[in-house]
Subunit: 263 residues, 2 copies
Protein backbone atom coordinates (compact mmCIF):
# COMPACT_ATOMS: atom_id res chain seq x y z
CA UNK A 1 0.00 0.00 0.00
CA UNK A 2 2.80 2.44 0.84
CA UNK A 3 5.54 1.12 -1.46
CA UNK A 4 7.24 -0.72 1.39
CA UNK A 5 9.17 -3.08 -0.84
CA UNK A 6 12.04 -3.59 -3.26
CA UNK A 7 12.67 -4.92 -6.72
CA UNK A 8 15.43 -6.23 -8.96
CA UNK A 9 15.27 -6.30 -12.75
CA UNK A 10 17.58 -9.03 -14.01
CA UNK A 11 18.76 -10.43 -17.31
CA UNK A 12 18.09 -14.11 -17.98
CA UNK A 13 20.50 -15.52 -20.55
CA UNK A 14 21.36 -19.15 -21.32
CA UNK A 15 19.54 -20.29 -18.20
CA UNK A 16 21.52 -18.04 -15.88
CA UNK A 17 21.10 -14.63 -14.30
CA UNK A 18 24.31 -12.67 -14.73
CA UNK A 19 25.39 -10.66 -11.66
CA UNK A 20 22.91 -12.57 -9.49
CA UNK A 21 25.09 -12.11 -6.41
CA UNK A 22 25.14 -8.35 -6.91
CA UNK A 23 21.35 -8.37 -7.28
CA UNK A 24 20.87 -10.42 -4.10
CA UNK A 25 23.33 -8.26 -2.15
CA UNK A 26 21.45 -5.10 -3.04
CA UNK A 27 18.10 -6.74 -2.30
CA UNK A 28 19.21 -7.88 1.14
CA UNK A 29 20.79 -4.50 1.91
CA UNK A 30 17.51 -2.85 0.95
CA UNK A 31 15.48 -5.26 3.07
CA UNK A 32 17.67 -4.47 6.06
CA UNK A 33 17.24 -0.70 5.54
CA UNK A 34 13.47 -1.09 5.20
CA UNK A 35 13.29 -3.62 8.08
CA UNK A 36 11.68 -6.23 5.85
CA UNK A 37 12.48 -9.67 7.28
CA UNK A 38 13.85 -11.54 4.26
CA UNK A 39 15.63 -14.87 4.34
CA UNK A 40 18.37 -15.13 1.70
CA UNK A 41 17.91 -18.89 1.48
CA UNK A 42 14.21 -18.57 0.72
CA UNK A 43 14.90 -16.04 -2.05
CA UNK A 44 17.51 -18.40 -3.51
CA UNK A 45 15.00 -21.27 -3.45
CA UNK A 46 12.35 -19.18 -5.22
CA UNK A 47 14.78 -18.14 -7.93
CA UNK A 48 16.06 -21.69 -8.42
CA UNK A 49 12.52 -23.01 -8.69
CA UNK A 50 11.62 -20.26 -11.12
CA UNK A 51 14.62 -20.95 -13.35
CA UNK A 52 13.83 -24.67 -13.33
CA UNK A 53 10.39 -23.85 -14.81
CA UNK A 54 11.35 -20.93 -17.04
CA UNK A 55 14.78 -20.49 -18.52
CA UNK A 56 14.02 -18.79 -21.81
CA UNK A 57 16.20 -15.73 -22.46
CA UNK A 58 14.49 -12.57 -21.25
CA UNK A 59 14.13 -10.31 -18.24
CA UNK A 60 13.24 -11.54 -14.76
CA UNK A 61 11.75 -9.09 -12.30
CA UNK A 62 11.98 -9.97 -8.62
CA UNK A 63 9.73 -7.96 -6.33
CA UNK A 64 9.71 -8.22 -2.54
CA UNK A 65 7.04 -6.44 -0.52
CA UNK A 66 6.72 -6.14 3.22
CA UNK A 67 3.38 -7.95 3.08
CA UNK A 68 -0.10 -6.90 4.16
CA UNK A 69 -0.53 -4.91 7.37
CA UNK A 70 -3.28 -3.01 9.11
CA UNK A 71 -4.42 0.54 8.36
CA UNK A 72 -1.69 3.01 9.32
CA UNK A 73 1.97 3.29 8.44
CA UNK A 74 3.53 0.98 10.98
CA UNK A 75 4.05 -2.58 9.72
CA UNK A 76 2.71 -5.22 12.08
CA UNK A 77 5.05 -7.75 13.64
CA UNK A 78 3.20 -10.62 12.03
CA UNK A 79 3.65 -9.45 8.43
CA UNK A 80 5.45 -11.83 6.09
CA UNK A 81 7.30 -10.64 3.03
CA UNK A 82 5.86 -11.44 -0.39
CA UNK A 83 8.25 -12.62 -3.09
CA UNK A 84 7.08 -12.21 -6.69
CA UNK A 85 8.96 -13.35 -9.79
CA UNK A 86 7.91 -12.31 -13.30
CA UNK A 87 9.34 -13.10 -16.73
CA UNK A 88 9.35 -10.61 -19.61
CA UNK A 89 10.54 -10.98 -23.18
CA UNK A 90 14.04 -9.81 -24.05
CA UNK A 91 14.29 -6.13 -24.95
CA UNK A 92 15.17 -4.94 -28.43
CA UNK A 93 18.80 -3.83 -28.43
CA UNK A 94 19.52 -0.09 -28.20
CA UNK A 95 22.99 0.78 -29.45
CA UNK A 96 22.93 4.45 -28.57
CA UNK A 97 20.66 7.01 -27.01
CA UNK A 98 19.99 10.72 -26.69
CA UNK A 99 19.71 11.87 -23.07
CA UNK A 100 17.35 14.66 -22.11
CA UNK A 101 17.43 16.45 -18.78
CA UNK A 102 14.12 15.98 -16.92
CA UNK A 103 12.61 19.05 -15.26
CA UNK A 104 11.53 16.88 -12.32
CA UNK A 105 14.29 16.83 -9.70
CA UNK A 106 15.16 13.91 -7.44
CA UNK A 107 14.85 14.65 -3.71
CA UNK A 108 17.72 14.05 -1.33
CA UNK A 109 16.90 11.19 1.00
CA UNK A 110 19.99 9.50 2.47
CA UNK A 111 17.93 6.81 4.24
CA UNK A 112 16.51 5.57 0.93
CA UNK A 113 19.34 6.42 -1.50
CA UNK A 114 21.05 3.55 -3.30
CA UNK A 115 18.42 0.86 -2.71
CA UNK A 116 15.84 -0.10 -5.34
CA UNK A 117 12.65 0.46 -3.35
CA UNK A 118 9.10 0.75 -4.62
CA UNK A 119 8.56 4.46 -3.94
CA UNK A 120 9.15 5.46 -7.54
CA UNK A 121 6.82 8.41 -8.11
CA UNK A 122 9.84 10.55 -9.06
CA UNK A 123 10.67 8.18 -11.90
CA UNK A 124 7.02 7.93 -12.97
CA UNK A 125 6.70 11.72 -13.17
CA UNK A 126 10.06 12.14 -14.93
CA UNK A 127 9.20 9.43 -17.48
CA UNK A 128 6.05 11.36 -18.41
CA UNK A 129 8.22 14.24 -19.63
CA UNK A 130 9.78 12.18 -22.39
CA UNK A 131 8.44 11.87 -25.90
CA UNK A 132 7.39 8.42 -26.94
CA UNK A 133 6.81 6.95 -30.38
CA UNK A 134 4.67 3.82 -30.56
CA UNK A 135 5.19 3.33 -26.81
CA UNK A 136 9.00 3.40 -27.10
CA UNK A 137 10.95 6.33 -25.74
CA UNK A 138 13.17 7.85 -28.38
CA UNK A 139 15.16 9.54 -25.62
CA UNK A 140 16.22 8.59 -22.14
CA UNK A 141 15.73 10.93 -19.20
CA UNK A 142 18.60 12.36 -17.19
CA UNK A 143 17.73 12.97 -13.55
CA UNK A 144 19.34 15.73 -11.50
CA UNK A 145 18.93 16.45 -7.81
CA UNK A 146 17.53 19.73 -6.49
CA UNK A 147 21.03 21.25 -6.50
CA UNK A 148 21.50 20.39 -10.19
CA UNK A 149 23.92 17.50 -9.66
CA UNK A 150 23.74 14.62 -12.12
CA UNK A 151 22.36 11.48 -10.46
CA UNK A 152 21.27 8.87 -13.03
CA UNK A 153 19.21 8.12 -16.11
CA UNK A 154 15.62 6.90 -15.71
CA UNK A 155 16.50 3.21 -15.34
CA UNK A 156 20.27 3.33 -15.72
CA UNK A 157 23.37 4.74 -14.12
CA UNK A 158 25.73 7.06 -15.92
CA UNK A 159 29.50 7.24 -16.45
CA UNK A 160 31.49 10.02 -18.11
CA UNK A 161 35.10 10.28 -19.21
CA UNK A 162 36.83 13.47 -18.06
CA UNK A 163 40.55 14.02 -18.63
CA UNK A 164 41.15 10.34 -19.17
CA UNK A 165 39.29 9.21 -16.07
CA UNK A 166 35.86 7.62 -15.67
CA UNK A 167 33.54 9.40 -13.25
CA UNK A 168 30.16 8.28 -11.95
CA UNK A 169 27.83 10.15 -9.56
CA UNK A 170 28.00 9.65 -5.82
CA UNK A 171 24.62 8.19 -4.83
CA UNK A 172 24.77 8.80 -1.07
CA UNK A 173 21.71 11.09 -1.10
CA UNK A 174 19.74 10.17 -4.26
CA UNK A 175 19.53 7.54 -6.94
CA UNK A 176 19.69 3.78 -7.28
CA UNK A 177 23.11 2.14 -7.01
CA UNK A 178 22.90 -0.15 -10.03
CA UNK A 179 24.23 -3.66 -10.14
CA UNK A 180 25.94 -3.09 -13.50
CA UNK A 181 27.41 0.18 -12.22
CA UNK A 182 29.00 -1.70 -9.32
CA UNK A 183 30.33 -4.49 -11.53
CA UNK A 184 31.89 -1.94 -13.89
CA UNK A 185 33.50 -0.13 -10.94
CA UNK A 186 34.72 -3.32 -9.27
CA UNK A 187 35.91 -5.36 -12.23
CA UNK A 188 35.33 -4.17 -15.76
CA UNK A 189 36.77 -0.66 -15.87
CA UNK A 190 39.87 -1.63 -13.83
CA UNK A 191 40.48 -4.47 -16.34
CA UNK A 192 39.84 -2.25 -19.36
CA UNK A 193 42.25 0.39 -18.13
CA UNK A 194 44.87 -1.57 -16.24
CA UNK A 195 47.39 0.72 -14.63
CA UNK A 196 45.16 3.78 -14.79
CA UNK A 197 43.09 5.31 -12.00
CA UNK A 198 39.96 3.52 -10.79
CA UNK A 199 36.51 5.02 -11.27
CA UNK A 200 35.97 8.27 -9.40
CA UNK A 201 32.62 8.21 -7.55
CA UNK A 202 31.94 11.89 -7.07
CA UNK A 203 29.61 14.88 -7.40
CA UNK A 204 29.09 15.67 -11.10
CA UNK A 205 27.51 18.88 -12.37
CA UNK A 206 25.58 19.08 -15.61
CA UNK A 207 28.29 21.29 -17.13
CA UNK A 208 30.88 18.59 -16.40
CA UNK A 209 28.72 16.04 -18.18
CA UNK A 210 28.20 18.33 -21.18
CA UNK A 211 31.95 18.85 -21.57
CA UNK A 212 32.94 15.19 -20.96
CA UNK A 213 34.86 13.31 -23.67
CA UNK A 214 32.44 10.37 -23.63
CA UNK A 215 29.28 9.31 -21.78
CA UNK A 216 27.56 5.99 -21.42
CA UNK A 217 24.65 4.67 -19.40
CA UNK A 218 24.37 1.13 -18.07
CA UNK A 219 22.06 -1.29 -16.36
CA UNK A 220 21.83 -5.00 -15.66
CA UNK A 221 19.39 -5.66 -18.51
CA UNK A 222 20.91 -3.74 -21.41
CA UNK A 223 24.55 -3.57 -20.37
CA UNK A 224 26.29 -0.47 -21.77
CA UNK A 225 24.57 2.04 -24.07
CA UNK A 226 26.51 4.86 -25.74
CA UNK A 227 25.16 8.39 -25.24
CA UNK A 228 25.32 10.27 -28.56
CA UNK A 229 23.83 13.58 -27.46
CA UNK A 230 22.65 15.48 -24.40
CA UNK A 231 19.65 17.84 -24.43
CA UNK A 232 18.45 20.28 -21.79
CA UNK A 233 14.88 20.24 -20.40
CA UNK A 234 13.64 22.17 -23.42
CA UNK A 235 15.15 19.82 -25.99
CA UNK A 236 18.06 22.13 -26.84
CA UNK A 237 21.20 20.13 -27.54
CA UNK A 238 23.97 20.80 -25.02
CA UNK A 239 26.55 18.41 -26.47
CA UNK A 240 27.00 15.54 -28.94
CA UNK A 241 29.60 12.82 -29.40
CA UNK A 242 30.57 10.96 -32.56
CA UNK A 243 33.58 8.87 -31.49
CA UNK A 244 33.50 6.90 -28.23
CA UNK A 245 36.62 4.70 -28.24
CA UNK A 246 36.99 4.42 -24.45
CA UNK A 247 33.36 3.31 -24.09
CA UNK A 248 34.06 0.74 -26.79
CA UNK A 249 36.94 -0.59 -24.72
CA UNK A 250 34.80 -0.92 -21.59
CA UNK A 251 32.03 -2.61 -23.60
CA UNK A 252 34.46 -5.18 -25.04
CA UNK A 253 35.68 -6.07 -21.56
CA UNK A 254 32.12 -6.41 -20.33
CA UNK A 255 31.23 -8.65 -23.30
CA UNK A 256 34.26 -10.82 -22.60
CA UNK A 257 33.14 -11.31 -19.03
CA UNK A 258 29.41 -11.63 -19.79
CA UNK A 259 28.81 -12.66 -23.41
CA UNK A 260 25.05 -12.03 -23.17
CA UNK A 261 25.79 -8.31 -23.37
CA UNK A 262 27.34 -8.68 -26.83
CA UNK A 263 25.38 -6.42 -29.20
Amino acid sequence: MYGHGLFETMRLASGDIPLINYHLDRLLTGARKLTIPLDAGIVDDYISGFLADCNENGVVKLTVTAGAGQRGYRPSNTQRANIILQWFAELDPVAEIRLQVCAHRLPENPALAGIKHLNRLDQVLASLELEYERGISIRDGLLLDAKGNVIEALSSNIFCLVQGRWLTPDLACSGVAGVMRQFLIDEVIPAARSGSAPVDVTRIELTTLASADEIFICNAVRGITVVRALNDENGVELAAWTETPATGGVSRHLENRLPCFRA
Copy 2:
Protein backbone atom coordinates in the same frame (compact mmCIF):
# COMPACT_ATOMS: atom_id res chain seq x y z
CA MET B 1 3.84 -1.21 -8.28
CA TYR B 2 5.54 2.16 -7.91
CA GLY B 3 3.11 3.86 -5.51
CA HIS B 4 1.49 5.81 -8.34
CA GLY B 5 -1.69 6.56 -6.46
CA LEU B 6 -3.43 8.53 -3.74
CA PHE B 7 -5.56 7.97 -0.69
CA GLU B 8 -7.97 9.70 1.65
CA THR B 9 -8.76 8.57 5.18
CA MET B 10 -12.19 9.85 6.13
CA ARG B 11 -14.50 9.82 9.13
CA LEU B 12 -17.90 8.24 8.65
CA ALA B 13 -20.42 9.55 11.20
CA SER B 14 -24.22 9.39 11.17
CA GLY B 15 -24.19 8.23 7.56
CA ASP B 16 -22.12 11.17 6.34
CA ILE B 17 -18.48 11.91 5.66
CA PRO B 18 -17.57 15.25 7.21
CA LEU B 19 -15.36 17.48 5.06
CA ILE B 20 -16.05 15.30 2.01
CA ASN B 21 -15.58 18.25 -0.35
CA TYR B 22 -12.14 18.96 1.11
CA HIS B 23 -11.23 15.28 0.68
CA LEU B 24 -12.38 15.23 -2.93
CA ASP B 25 -10.62 18.51 -3.73
CA ARG B 26 -7.32 17.16 -2.44
CA LEU B 27 -7.81 13.85 -4.24
CA LEU B 28 -8.49 15.54 -7.57
CA THR B 29 -5.56 17.93 -7.10
CA GLY B 30 -3.33 14.95 -6.43
CA ALA B 31 -4.64 13.06 -9.45
CA ARG B 32 -3.88 16.08 -11.65
CA LYS B 33 -0.33 16.33 -10.26
CA LEU B 34 0.26 12.61 -10.78
CA THR B 35 -1.50 12.64 -14.19
CA ILE B 36 -4.00 9.99 -13.09
CA PRO B 37 -7.17 10.39 -15.16
CA LEU B 38 -9.89 10.51 -12.53
CA ASP B 39 -13.49 11.51 -13.10
CA ALA B 40 -14.99 13.36 -10.14
CA GLY B 41 -18.46 12.07 -11.01
CA ILE B 42 -17.33 8.45 -10.93
CA VAL B 43 -15.68 8.94 -7.53
CA ASP B 44 -18.90 10.53 -6.25
CA ASP B 45 -20.91 7.57 -7.54
CA TYR B 46 -18.60 5.05 -5.87
CA ILE B 47 -18.82 6.86 -2.55
CA SER B 48 -22.62 7.20 -2.75
CA GLY B 49 -22.94 3.50 -3.54
CA PHE B 50 -20.59 2.61 -0.72
CA LEU B 51 -22.51 4.72 1.82
CA ALA B 52 -25.80 3.17 0.68
CA ASP B 53 -24.39 -0.26 1.58
CA CYS B 54 -22.36 0.69 4.63
CA ASN B 55 -23.15 3.63 6.84
CA GLU B 56 -22.00 2.41 10.24
CA ASN B 57 -19.83 4.95 12.08
CA GLY B 58 -16.16 4.32 11.42
CA VAL B 59 -13.32 5.24 9.09
CA VAL B 60 -13.54 5.02 5.30
CA LYS B 61 -10.34 4.78 3.33
CA LEU B 62 -10.51 5.75 -0.33
CA THR B 63 -7.55 4.65 -2.43
CA VAL B 64 -7.03 5.56 -6.08
CA THR B 65 -4.23 3.94 -8.05
CA ALA B 66 -3.11 4.67 -11.59
CA GLY B 67 -3.93 1.09 -12.58
CA ALA B 68 -1.80 -1.69 -14.03
CA GLY B 69 0.83 -0.84 -16.64
CA GLN B 70 3.70 -2.59 -18.34
CA ARG B 71 7.19 -3.10 -16.96
CA GLY B 72 8.98 0.24 -16.67
CA TYR B 73 8.10 3.52 -15.03
CA ARG B 74 6.01 5.15 -17.72
CA PRO B 75 2.26 4.58 -17.33
CA SER B 76 0.60 3.36 -20.52
CA ASN B 77 -2.10 5.43 -22.18
CA THR B 78 -4.61 2.65 -21.75
CA GLN B 79 -4.35 2.38 -17.97
CA ARG B 80 -7.54 2.98 -16.02
CA ALA B 81 -7.52 4.21 -12.45
CA ASN B 82 -8.60 1.81 -9.71
CA ILE B 83 -10.88 3.12 -6.99
CA ILE B 84 -10.92 1.17 -3.72
CA LEU B 85 -13.12 1.90 -0.70
CA GLN B 86 -12.57 0.23 2.68
CA TRP B 87 -14.38 0.51 5.98
CA PHE B 88 -12.61 0.32 9.35
CA ALA B 89 -14.00 0.45 12.87
CA GLU B 90 -14.02 3.76 14.70
CA LEU B 91 -10.80 4.55 16.56
CA ASP B 92 -10.60 4.74 20.32
CA PRO B 93 -10.54 8.39 21.35
CA VAL B 94 -7.16 9.91 22.25
CA ALA B 95 -7.51 13.06 24.32
CA GLU B 96 -3.87 14.00 24.44
CA ILE B 97 -0.54 12.81 23.15
CA ARG B 98 3.21 13.04 23.70
CA LEU B 99 5.10 13.94 20.52
CA GLN B 100 8.55 12.55 19.87
CA VAL B 101 10.88 13.87 17.18
CA CYS B 102 11.69 11.12 14.66
CA ALA B 103 15.33 10.77 13.58
CA HIS B 104 14.17 10.05 10.03
CA ARG B 105 13.92 13.31 8.07
CA LEU B 106 11.39 14.10 5.36
CA PRO B 107 12.93 14.92 1.97
CA GLU B 108 12.08 18.13 0.14
CA ASN B 109 10.06 17.36 -2.95
CA PRO B 110 7.94 20.29 -4.15
CA ALA B 111 6.32 18.23 -6.93
CA LEU B 112 4.86 15.78 -4.41
CA ALA B 113 4.41 17.99 -1.34
CA GLY B 114 0.89 18.53 -0.05
CA ILE B 115 -0.82 15.63 -1.81
CA LYS B 116 -1.57 12.33 -0.11
CA HIS B 117 0.21 9.95 -2.49
CA LEU B 118 1.17 6.32 -1.92
CA ASN B 119 4.97 6.78 -1.70
CA ARG B 120 5.01 6.62 2.07
CA LEU B 121 8.30 4.92 2.92
CA ASP B 122 9.32 7.96 4.95
CA GLN B 123 6.29 7.51 7.19
CA VAL B 124 6.81 3.74 7.41
CA LEU B 125 10.42 4.19 8.52
CA ALA B 126 9.58 6.99 10.95
CA SER B 127 6.74 4.95 12.48
CA LEU B 128 9.21 2.16 13.24
CA GLU B 129 11.11 4.50 15.57
CA LEU B 130 8.19 4.82 17.95
CA GLU B 131 7.54 2.59 20.92
CA TYR B 132 4.37 0.59 20.81
CA GLU B 133 2.43 -1.13 23.56
CA ARG B 134 0.00 -3.86 22.48
CA GLY B 135 0.16 -2.49 18.93
CA ILE B 136 -0.85 1.04 20.00
CA SER B 137 1.67 3.85 19.84
CA ILE B 138 2.00 5.58 23.18
CA ARG B 139 3.61 8.51 21.41
CA ASP B 140 3.13 10.20 18.08
CA GLY B 141 6.05 10.96 15.80
CA LEU B 142 7.05 14.51 14.86
CA LEU B 143 8.60 14.75 11.40
CA LEU B 144 11.17 17.39 10.51
CA ASP B 145 12.70 18.10 7.11
CA ALA B 146 16.43 17.80 6.43
CA LYS B 147 16.92 21.43 7.55
CA GLY B 148 15.26 20.73 10.90
CA ASN B 149 12.00 22.55 10.15
CA VAL B 150 8.83 21.14 11.69
CA ILE B 151 6.57 19.60 9.03
CA GLU B 152 3.89 17.37 10.56
CA ALA B 153 3.11 14.47 12.86
CA LEU B 154 3.01 10.94 11.45
CA SER B 155 -0.63 11.07 10.31
CA SER B 156 -1.61 14.55 11.46
CA ASN B 157 -0.78 18.20 10.93
CA ILE B 158 0.40 20.44 13.71
CA PHE B 159 -0.53 23.88 15.01
CA CYS B 160 1.21 25.92 17.71
CA LEU B 161 0.29 29.10 19.54
CA VAL B 162 3.07 31.72 19.61
CA GLN B 163 2.47 35.18 21.03
CA GLY B 164 -1.28 34.83 20.72
CA ARG B 165 -1.20 33.65 17.13
CA TRP B 166 -1.71 30.18 15.65
CA LEU B 167 1.08 28.99 13.36
CA THR B 168 1.17 25.89 11.17
CA PRO B 169 4.04 24.72 8.94
CA ASP B 170 4.29 25.75 5.32
CA LEU B 171 4.00 22.49 3.31
CA ALA B 172 5.30 23.73 -0.05
CA CYS B 173 8.25 21.32 -0.04
CA SER B 174 7.29 18.45 2.31
CA GLY B 175 4.32 17.00 4.11
CA VAL B 176 0.67 16.28 3.50
CA ALA B 177 -1.73 19.23 3.51
CA GLY B 178 -4.43 17.77 5.71
CA VAL B 179 -8.13 18.25 5.18
CA MET B 180 -8.72 19.11 8.85
CA ARG B 181 -5.77 21.53 8.77
CA GLN B 182 -7.38 23.37 5.86
CA PHE B 183 -10.82 23.46 7.49
CA LEU B 184 -9.31 24.87 10.70
CA ILE B 185 -7.43 27.54 8.70
CA ASP B 186 -10.42 28.44 6.55
CA GLU B 187 -13.27 28.37 9.03
CA VAL B 188 -12.71 27.17 12.57
CA ILE B 189 -9.82 29.25 13.87
CA PRO B 190 -11.14 32.48 12.32
CA ALA B 191 -14.48 31.82 14.07
CA ALA B 192 -12.82 30.89 17.37
CA ARG B 193 -10.74 34.05 17.37
CA SER B 194 -12.89 36.58 15.58
CA GLY B 195 -11.08 39.86 15.18
CA SER B 196 -7.63 38.37 15.71
CA ALA B 197 -5.05 37.48 13.06
CA PRO B 198 -5.66 34.47 10.81
CA VAL B 199 -3.44 31.38 10.94
CA ASP B 200 0.15 32.04 9.92
CA VAL B 201 1.36 29.35 7.49
CA THR B 202 5.10 29.59 7.86
CA ARG B 203 8.47 27.94 8.46
CA ILE B 204 8.60 26.66 12.07
CA GLU B 205 11.79 25.53 13.78
CA LEU B 206 11.81 22.92 16.52
CA THR B 207 12.87 25.55 19.07
CA THR B 208 9.80 27.62 18.19
CA LEU B 209 7.61 24.58 18.78
CA ALA B 210 9.30 23.80 22.11
CA SER B 211 8.72 27.34 23.35
CA ALA B 212 5.14 27.65 22.04
CA ASP B 213 2.31 28.38 24.48
CA GLU B 214 0.19 25.47 23.21
CA ILE B 215 0.39 22.76 20.55
CA PHE B 216 -2.22 20.53 19.00
CA ILE B 217 -2.28 18.03 16.16
CA CYS B 218 -5.26 17.36 13.93
CA ASN B 219 -6.57 15.11 11.22
CA ALA B 220 -9.86 14.27 9.58
CA VAL B 221 -10.41 11.12 11.61
CA ARG B 222 -9.57 12.21 15.14
CA GLY B 223 -10.16 15.93 14.93
CA ILE B 224 -8.02 17.88 17.41
CA THR B 225 -5.65 16.20 19.87
CA VAL B 226 -3.85 18.20 22.57
CA VAL B 227 -0.06 17.79 22.75
CA ARG B 228 0.98 17.46 26.41
CA ALA B 229 4.74 17.06 25.91
CA LEU B 230 7.46 17.14 23.30
CA ASN B 231 10.47 14.79 23.32
CA ASP B 232 13.63 14.86 21.23
CA GLU B 233 14.82 11.84 19.18
CA ASN B 234 16.37 10.29 22.31
CA GLY B 235 13.24 10.55 24.41
CA VAL B 236 14.46 13.59 26.38
CA GLU B 237 11.60 15.93 27.18
CA LEU B 238 11.99 19.36 25.54
CA ALA B 239 8.76 20.88 26.79
CA ALA B 240 5.45 20.08 28.47
CA TRP B 241 2.10 21.83 28.70
CA THR B 242 -0.54 21.55 31.41
CA GLU B 243 -3.08 24.22 30.46
CA THR B 244 -4.28 24.59 26.86
CA PRO B 245 -7.19 27.05 26.92
CA ALA B 246 -6.79 28.31 23.35
CA THR B 247 -6.80 24.75 22.00
CA GLY B 248 -9.96 24.15 24.01
CA GLY B 249 -11.55 27.13 22.30
CA VAL B 250 -10.66 25.85 18.83
CA SER B 251 -11.94 22.36 19.73
CA ARG B 252 -15.26 23.74 20.91
CA HIS B 253 -15.75 25.61 17.65
CA LEU B 254 -14.87 22.48 15.67
CA GLU B 255 -17.35 20.42 17.72
CA ASN B 256 -20.06 22.99 17.10
CA ARG B 257 -19.49 22.75 13.37
CA LEU B 258 -18.97 18.97 13.28
CA PRO B 259 -20.51 17.26 16.31
CA CYS B 260 -18.87 13.90 15.49
CA PHE B 261 -15.60 15.35 16.79
CA ARG B 262 -17.07 15.85 20.27
CA ALA B 263 -14.87 13.87 22.68
